[in-house]
C-alpha cells in the first residue's frame, strides 16, 4: 500500500492502457514533515536576511509561499526544459519527449517526496526580467529558497542563451542571492567527451568574463553536463537538490558510518520516485556506482509493479496461513519492508537494497564475497534504517493536520508495507 516501490499502473508502451497520470503525488511522510519544519526555519532566516539586506523595496508579498523549495527551469526555446521535467518528475520515456508541445505558460508542478518541491517550467520565449507588457512579480518567482536551472542546448548555437543567462545572473545577484544558479549544458548525448569539456570551458569563461566586467565575483554558478537519454540528468538533479536539504552533513555521516561497519563500497539514499539520490557516503563520487544503484531501484519498481500491485484473494491468504504454517503472513516474513539482494557474477559482488520509508530506499554496493555475512549486515542495516527514520522523525505533537500542506492527516505510526496489494496509494 504505502511502499516506496508502488506506483500507479503505467505501461511503457501498451496501446490499450490509459495515458499515465500527470504527476505522482502522494501524502507527505513523517520524514517529509520533519524536513518541512527544518526547511521552514531556514526559509524564515533567508527571508529575514532578504528584508534586512539590500534592495528589497517593499515587504515581500509572497502569499502562496508554502515554504517549498523551488526549482526554476529556464532557458531558450527547445533547449529541453519540458523534456527534463517530464523525464525526471513524470517518468516519461526519453524518446517520447519528441511529442512534447512548446510550453505556452509557466507549468507549475508540485513534487511530493521526502521533501516537497515545486518545479516551475518556463516558456523559453518569455524573459521574466524584461516583459514590459506584463511585468512579473519577481518576488513571487524568486522569493523562495531554491535553484535556478538554466538549460542550454549543447547541440545548438548557444551565444544568445549565454547572454540571457548572464543578464539573469546579474539580476539574481542583486536581489536574490539565496538562489543557486545551476547551468545544465544539455543534450550532450552523442557528443564526444572532448567536445563536451570544450563547450563547458567556453561557456564558463563567457560567464565569468561577463560577470567580472560587471563587478560580480564568486557568483554561485555550477555546471552540469546532462542528457535525458542517460543517468546524467538524474545525477545533476541529485546535486542540485542536495544543496537544498537541511542537515545534509548528518545524513552523509550516517551513510559513511554504515559503509565502514558493513564494509560497503558505496551507499546511496534514493528518492525512489525520481531516482534522485539525496545523500551518499563520503567516498569519492562515482558515476558508475550511481548508475547501477539507480537501475537497481528501477528493477525493483518494475518487479513491484508487475507482481505486487494486485489484490490476492482471501482464500490465498487463508491457505498460506493454514497448516503447516499456522501463522499470519505478516509473522512469516523476516522484514516488513521491501528488501532485495543481488549478486554480480564477475566477482560475486553483492548489491543490496532496503526500503527506508515510503519515499526513500537505501542501496549499497558490497565488497566481494560478503554475501555470507548477510545476516550481520542486515542487522546493521536495520539499525541504520532506524537512525534514518529518526533523522526524519517529527515529534508526535507536531504531527497535526495543519502542518501538512493540503490538509491531509499524516500517517500515524509506521504505515508502510502492511497493505495487501492495493494499486497505487491505497487508503
Amino acid at each position: 500500500m504505502a511502499s516506496a516501490f508502488r506506483r500507479g499502473s503505467e505501461a511503457l508502451f501498451d496501446p490499450s492502457t490509459e495515458p499515465r497520470p500527470p504527476c505522482v503525488s502522494r501524502r507527505p511522510s513523517r520524514a517529509m514533515l520533519n524536513l518541512h519544519r527544518v526547511y521552514e526555519q531556514n526559509r524564515q532566516r533567508v527571508q529575514q536576511n532578504l528584508k534586512d539586506g539590500v534592495k528589497v523595496p517593499e515587504p515581500i508579498a509572497v502569499p502562496h509561499a508554502k515554504g517549498k523549495p523551488r526549482l526554476l527551469l529556464m532557458g531558450q526555446r527547445r533547449s529541453g526544459k519540458s523534456s527534463i521535467s517530464s523525464v525526471v518528475f513524470h517518468k516519461l520515456p526519453p524518446n517520447e519527449t519528441l511529442f512534447l508541445e512548446s510550453t505556452a505558460r509557466i507549468q507549475k508542478d508540485s513534487l511530493n517526496s521526502f521533501m516537497e518541491f515545486q518545479v516551475w517550467d518556463f516558456p523559453g520565449q518569455i524573459d521574466v526580467f524584461d516583459n514590459p507588457a506584463f511585468p512579473f512579480d519577481m518576488d513571487a518567482i524568486f522569493g523562495e529558497i531554491g535553484a535556478l536551472i538554466w538549460v542550454i542546448d549543447a547541440q545548438d548555437d548557444y551565444l544568445e542563451a549565454v547572454a540571457r543567462l548572464n543578464a539573469t545572473i546579474l539580476h539574481l545577484q542583486r536581489s536574490y542571492q539565496h538562489i543557486n544558479i545551476e547551468v545544465f549544458i544539455h543534450k550532450v548525448d552523442g557528443l564526444s567527451d572532448d567536445y563536451k569539456l570544450d563547450i563547458q570551458r567556453d561557456i564558463t569563461i563567457r560567464i565569468q568574463d561577463e560577470l567580472s566586467d560587471q563587478g560580480v565575483e564568486n557568483a554561485p554558478v555550477n555546471f552540469h553536463l546532462t542528457s535525458i537519454y542517460n543517468h546524467s540528468i538524474f545525477e545533476a538533479f541529485s546535486k542540485v537538490i542536495q544543496k537544498l536539504i537541511p542537515r545534509l552533513g548528518q545524513l552523509e555521516a550516517i551513510l559513511t558510518n554504515l559503509c565502514r561497519t558493513c564494509r560497503f563500497e558505496k551507499a546511496y539514499l534514493f528518492d525512489v520516485n525520481t531516482k534522485i539520490y539525496i545523500a551518499t557516503d563520503s567516498t569519492p563520487e562515482d558515476m558508475a556506482s550511481y548508475e547501477i544503484c539507480s537501475d537497481y531501484v528501477d528493477v525493483i519498481i518494475d518487479f513491484t509493479e508487475v507482481y505486487g500491485s494486485w489484490q490476492r484473494t482471501p482464500e490465498w491468504r487463508k491457505r498460506l496461513e493454514g497448516p503447516p504454517w499456522e501463522q499470519k503472513l505478516e509473522d512469516q516474513v523476516a522484514c516488513e519492508w521491501a528488501e532485495s539482494g543481488m549478486v554480480l557474477a564477475d566477482a560475486q559482488r553483492p548489491i543490496m537494497l532496503r526500503e527506508v520509508d515510503r519515499f526513500l530506499a537505501l542501496v549499497a554496493i558490497m565488497k566481494e564475497g560478503s554475501y555470507e555475512k548477510m545476516p550481520q549486515i542486515n542487522m546493521n542495516v536495520d539499525v541504520v534504517v532506524k537512525g534514518l527514520t529518526e533523522f526524519f522523525e517529527i515529534t508526535k505533537s507536531k504531527m497535526t493536520p495543519t502542518a501538512v500542506p493540503g490538509g491531509v492527516t499524516a500517517v500515524g505510526g509506521n504505515g508502510v508495507m502492511n497493505g495487501h496489494g492495493v494499486v497505487g496509494d491505497g487508503r
Binding site: 508502451f13 490499450s16 507482481y307 505486487g308 490465498w316 503472513l329 521491501a338
Partner: protein
C-alpha cells in the same frame, strides 16, 4: 507428500514419450525480410547479440543476406537469414535466388516500417514475398511485425495498428490467391476493406506477381492457407520481446515436457508464477502460472520481465566491464514484506528461472532449495546428450521436497 506424486508421474510419462526426440538438434531456417531501414538487423542485434536500442543507430544497411546461426537452448539452432532490404536485393531474392532463399523455410518474419511513406510499394513487395514463400515452403509460418510503433503518438497507436493489420491480412489473402492461380478478388474484398490507396496497391502487387517465374506451379492448390500472426513492435520497449517469444515458442523442441515439469515444480513449491528464460536473449521459453497468479492484471508481464532483466544485464555489464554476452548476475532476490517474494536465478546452463511466490521466509528458503534440486530434471534443455531418465529427475525432486518439509516443522 502424496499430493506431489500426481504431477511428477505425469511429467515422467511425458518425458519418456519425448525421450526419443531429445537426441536431435533441431535446425530451423528463419527468414527476416522487409524494406531497407525497417529495423530487421536492429531487432536481431538486440534480441540475440545484446545490443542496446540506441546502439542500433550505428548499424549500416545489410548487404545481400547476413546469415547467422543462433544456438537457442541445447537442442535448437536458428539459421537466421537477415535479408538486406534494398530494392536491388529484394528483386534478386525474388528472381535469381528464389529457390535458394524460399525453400525449406520454417518461419518468415516480415517487418513493416510504420513510418514508411510508400505504403503501396511496401505492400506490393510483401505480396511478392508471400507468393514466393508459399510457393516453395507451404508449411512456413509467417510473423508480420508492424515496427517502429514508438514513432506513432501513443494515443493513436492502437488504431494505426488495427488498420495496418486489416490491410496486411487482405494483401496476404491476395498473395495466396495468386498462387492458387485464381484472380485476386480485388473488387470483392479490397474495395470494402480500404478504399483508395489500398486498392491501388493491390493492383500493383497482382501485376508484379504475374510477371514472376513460377515453373513449379503446374496445378492450383485450392486448400492453401498461410498461418500468420501480427505484432506491433518497437525496439524501445518490451513489445519486441513479445513478438520474438511467440516466434521462438513454436520452434522449441519438447515444449510440452518443459511445460509439464515446470507445472509440477510450481505446484510443489507453492509458486504463483514461474518463467523460464533463455540465458542470452532472455526470451521466455516457457511459463507456468497458478490459478491465483492468473488474476495478475498485467497481461504483458512476460515480455516486460524479459525487457527488464535484459536491461539489468546491460547495466551489470557496464558496471563490471565484462562482455555483454557473459553471464552478469547469478542470483537476484526480492522480498516485498508480507506482499510477495520472488527470485531470479541461474538455472540450467542455458536458462534462468524466475519464481514469484507468496511471502514468508521458510517458504522462500525451501523454494530455493527445491528449484536447485529440480535442476537435473531440466538438464535436457542444455543439449541432446545429457537427457536424464525421468526417474532420476523425479526422485531428486521428491528428496528436495522432503528437505523443505523438515524445515517447516
Amino acid at each position: 507428500m502424496a499430493d506431489y506424486d500426481q504431477p511428477t508421474m505425469g511429467a515422467s510419462t511425458a518425458a519418456a514419450a519425448a525421450h526419443a526426440q531429445l537426441k536431435k538438434v533441431k535446425k530451423q531456417k528463419v527468414l527476416l525480410m522487409g524494406k531497407s531501414g525497417s529495423g530487421k538487423s536492429s531487432m536481431r542485434s538486440i534480441i540475440f547479440s545484446n545490443y542496446l536500442a540506441r546502439d542500433t543507430r550505428r548499424l549500416g544497411a545489410t548487404i545481400d543476406i547476413d546469415l547467422s546461426h543462433v544456438k537457442f537452448l541445447g537442442n535448437l539452432t536458428l539459421n537466421l537469414w537477415d535479408c538486406g532490404g534494398q530494392e536491388a536485393f529484394m528483386e534478386n531474392y525474388l528472381s535469381q535466388q528464389r529457390a535458394h532463399v524460399f525453400s525449406n523455410v520454417g518461419v518468415l518474419i516480415y517487418v513493416f516500417d510504420i513510418e514508411s511513406r510508400d505504403v503501396d510499394r511496401d505492400l506490393a513487395t510483401y505480396v511478392n514475398i508471400i507468393s514466393a514463400l508459399v510457393q516453395y515452403s507451404r508449411e512456413a509460418k509467417v510473423f508480420v511485425l508492424i515496427h517502429k510503433m514508438d514513432l506513432i503518438q501513443p494515443m493513436t497507436r492502437e488504431d494505426v495498428f488495427d488498420r495496418r493489420v486489416a490491410l496486411v491480412r487482405r494483401k496476404t489473402a491476395e498473395a495466396v490467391a495468386i498462387v492458387r492461380k485464381q484472380k485476386p478478388e480485388v473488387s470483392g474484398v479490397g474495395v470494402g476493406g480500404l478504399p483508395g490507396p489500398g486498392g491501388g496497391g493491390g493492383g500493383g502487387g497482382a501485376m508484379m506477381a504475374g510477371s514472376l517465374p513460377s515453373p513449379e506451379l503446374s496445378t492450383p492448390i485450392p486448400d492453401l492457407e498461410v498461418e500468420m500472426q501480427l505484432f506491433a513492435t518497437s525496439i524501445w520497449d518490451q513489445s519486441l520481446y513479445k513478438a520474438w517469444a511467440s516466434i521462438i515458442h513454436d520452434l522449441v523442441p519438447n515444449l510440452s515436457v518443459i511445460e509439464t515439469q515446470l507445472a509440477s515444480l510450481g505446484v510443489a513449491i507453492d509458486a504463483d508464477e514461474i518463467l523460464l528464460f533463455e540465458r542470452t536473449s532472455f526470451l521466455v521459453v516457457s511459463k507456468w502460472t497458478s490459478p491465483e497468479g492468473e488474476s495478475n492484471p498485467y497481461g504483458d508481464r512476460f515480455e516486460r520481465m524479459s525487457n527488464i532483466l535484459k536491461a539489468w544485464k546491460h547495466t551489470c555489464s557496464k558496471y563490471t566491464g565484462t562482455p555483454r554476452n557473459a553471464e552478469q548476475f547469478s542470483d537476484f532476490e526480492y522480498k516485498m514484506g508480507a506482499n510477495f517474494s520472488m527470485f531470479v536465478t541461474k538455472f540450467t546452463t542455458n536458462t534462468y528461472i524466475l519464481v514469484c511466490m507468496p511471502p514468508g521466509e521458510a517458504r522462500f528458503n525451501s523454494a530455493k532449495l527445491n528449484v536447485a534440486a529440480a535442476r537435473p530434471w531440466f538438464r535436457f534443455l542444455d543439449g541432446p546428450m545429457i537427457a536424464p531418465t525421468a526417474g532420476i529427475g523425479s526422485s531428486q525432486m521428491l528428496s528436495g521436497l522432503a528437505a523443505a518439509g523438515g524445515e517447516v516443522a
